[in-house]
Symmetry: C2
Subunit: 430 residues, 2 copies
């Protein structure tokens, strides 16, 4: 039964706190097994990849060829209808246009002393993008990860994707090609992460690995972190819809179900100040559920992790929203803009009654890779910044060194770092 | 014996590749012990903190009080000479002025369709800053971590620091106060990280933990990552000095030793096109070593991990620099600016003959928390960005939804996500 909370209830604070602490994923203990896979790929390279792929994906990757061929990509285009291809191209263009605006600028300035300071942004050279197989093999996610990397100027973008029984999702190939991906490798799992991080005879190592994956892939990303950069570790998706009673309950129910159909561990929350509206939405969720092909997944998610939170007033929303720190936040109210100004923690905000979160999944232009599991408290969605790094720049002349140097010598001595002090004093003859 | 490489040697590529792969730290297997500490702090709160502090730091934190009192901070000011205090204040002002320039701006715009897109930056609410005890208890690092957090607008900055036998470093207290730190807790180790991440009866949890630490602290940060954000995992420090023969060998030797005195695992590398200059620097390192109080540490670092790389021409430098991706890079050459333009991977660059890296450690204004162990390939030094997160914003009206919606429906169907498609189509009556 879907949870109902009301801020008018005496036990609201306790129940809301317990709700915040709900874990939606059982943690899988795969660390030791993943450690062994990484060690074997490091030691044996392609031979280990071949064996693991035989075992887990049931085909001979040596025979199939590690790299997807141009002819396979052409065949994938042939297998894609014109409408889908056009939609992928529209999405790519919109994502590209939006992410171009995120490009930071280099800075160089002189302070009052004349000391030059600044920074310079440069792209990461080579990035690996993990694309899951099976249910979660989404061409839209290929665009959302690869396009910002291209915009940032990453030279080599390597996709790895599991191909169970050797079968590839043609839409992933088409999306990768549209996004300008450099190469696509027919391997998946922890072994693919190990190959991207450490390289093998046929795979050059990358500098950073992004993209979602199962427990094995996530554990492998954690273990290779440091050797390469990684993006966030994504959890199951979630939406919080804040809606007043003026909304059409069928629309809001559809938004809740769009999130719920992702995964039984997904989470959809409705927050409203209108009890009758809340009941109308709840009834509509049940009605629409009956029509869905993924009714079992969506129903389990709504029943186990969904929630309806009744407010006495929408004025109560911002504090609760910040504590939930939702990945996706719909503000389907007349006061969306003023609410937005009072919110700190959310991955992406969808304003007004005509911005269903699903638009952001595909064609809005903003990124759909967003912080889950309350991590919007401290992190942001994917952007071009994830594919750039900043070099800081400092330049003094002898006069400026004379002005600032003595303070550096003082601090070096206070920290017991004599050689630090000498690197300055030797230049000043002090 | 310090390594010598020359690009003129036939085996240079092999030897340089091996040099790049050198591990400077033995990895300590503390994961299981750290997991137990975190579990106990979660289960028992303050009681566990008290026990661990008794065991590891040999004092009663309950009796001493978890929080450092204002009177202790006042006493620390008393114990600090005026020159050191003035140097800390100068450093704080310069760090603050520089980091203010890093503040990103919010954006909101309409695209050709009239769709509104944008983003809004907000500070992280509460940040924990770990300050190591013992040798690595540096007041300068307190400033480098806390000042950017304050500039970003973080409301609560909590320092945790081990106080072996109950003893605090007064300069850490003074630096924390100057930087505007909110509270200072007298606990350290993995137990302090656990307390910051999960909270106890007396400690409110934070959203992100930054700052360097030993193997236990680093392992704890990795384990709580996800529950809270963390900064990079810092390794031993390193400098690469690129110098032509026009430099004073005594200056360059002093720069190499300033890095080497940090830690036996620190690394100092000289790259030059002048063999006679290289020998003069090597001789000078040996001479200056004799005068250093930390000669043993600096000598071991230079002998075990230092290197002199001879180039046929400085034109060879950029490619090798990018492969080394040094934390600190000094360009002590006449062509520093043109070299800089050709470099992609470095944490911080110090230009010209009068910018010893040590200035950047203390009073340059730029941050001294920088990516180590070749991670400048994919990450940047600490900045205000580490204390902010970005909310993305999207707003469509009904006409724009009509324009973009059909493509979203097409992609949702192509991905088998029927409820995604319905969230749009129900609004369009399609």
């Amino acid at each position: 039964m879907t949870l109902r909370l009301s801020t008018a209830d005496a036990d609201f604070e306790d129940r809301f706190t317990a709700f915040l602490a709900t874990k939606r994923e059982a943690s899988q203990e795969v660390d030791a097994a993943v450690r062994e896979i990484i060690a074997r790929v490091r030691a044996e390279g392609d031979r280990a990849l071949k064996e693991y792929t035989k075992r887990f994906d049931r085909f001979d990757v040596e025979k199939a060829g590690m790299r997807v061929e141009r002819s396979e990509i052409e065949a994938a285009y042939e297998a894609t209808d014109a409408e889908t291809r056009a939609a992928l191209e529209l999405a790519k263009e919109r994502i590209e246009a939006h992410h171009r605006r995120q490009m930071p600028t280099d800075t160089r300035y002189k302070d009052a002393l004349g000391v030059e300071l600044g920074w310079r942004w440069t792209p990461i050279s080579a990035v690996g993008l993990y694309v899951p197989g099976g249910l979660a093999s989404y061409p839209s996610s290929v665009l959302m990860n690869a396009v910002p990397a291209r915009v940032a100027g990453v030279e080599r973008i390597t996709i790895t994707t599991p191909t169970p029984d050797g079968r590839l999702n043609p839409l992933v190939l088409v999306a990768a090609d549209i996004a300008g991906v450099t190469e696509i490798l027919r391997i998946g799992g922890a072994q693919a992460i190990a190959a991207l991080a450490h390289g093998t005879e046929t795979i050059a190592p990358v500098d950073k690995i992004v993209g979602p994956g199962n427990a094995w892939v996530s554990a492998a990303k954690r273990q290779v972190f440091g050797q390469v950069g990684i993006d966030m570790i994504a959890g199951p998706s979630e939406v919080l819809v804040v809606a007043d009673g003026e909304n059409d309950p069928t629309w809001i129910a559809a938004d809740l179900l769009a999130q719920a159909e992702h995964d039984t561990a997904a989470q959809s929350i409705l927050m409203t100040d209108d009890p009758a509206f809340a009941e109308a939405v709840a009834a509509e969720v049940e009605r629409q559920l009956k029509q869905l092909s993924r009714a079992e997944i969506a129903g389990a998610s709504w029943r186990d992790f969904g929630a309806i939170i009744l407010l006495r007033s929408l004025e109560e929303a911002p504090t609760l929203i910040d504590r939930l720190a939702p990945e996706h936040l719909e503000l389907a109210t007349a006061q969306a803009e003023s609410l937005l100004q009072r919110i700190r923690n959310a991955g992406a905000v969808f304003l007004g009654r005509h911005t269903p979160e699903v638009i952001g999944d595909y064609v809005g232009g903003s990124n759909h890779v967003l912080p889950t599991a309350r991590s919007a408290r401290f992190s942001s969605g994917l952007s071009v910044m994830d594919f750039l790094k900043r070099m800081s720049i400092l330049r003094l002349d002898s006069g400026q060194l004379r002005a600032l140097g003595p303070a550096a010598v003082t601090l070096a001595r206070a920290e017991g770092l004599e050689a630090h002090g000498r690197a300055v004093s030797i230049r000043l003859n002090i």
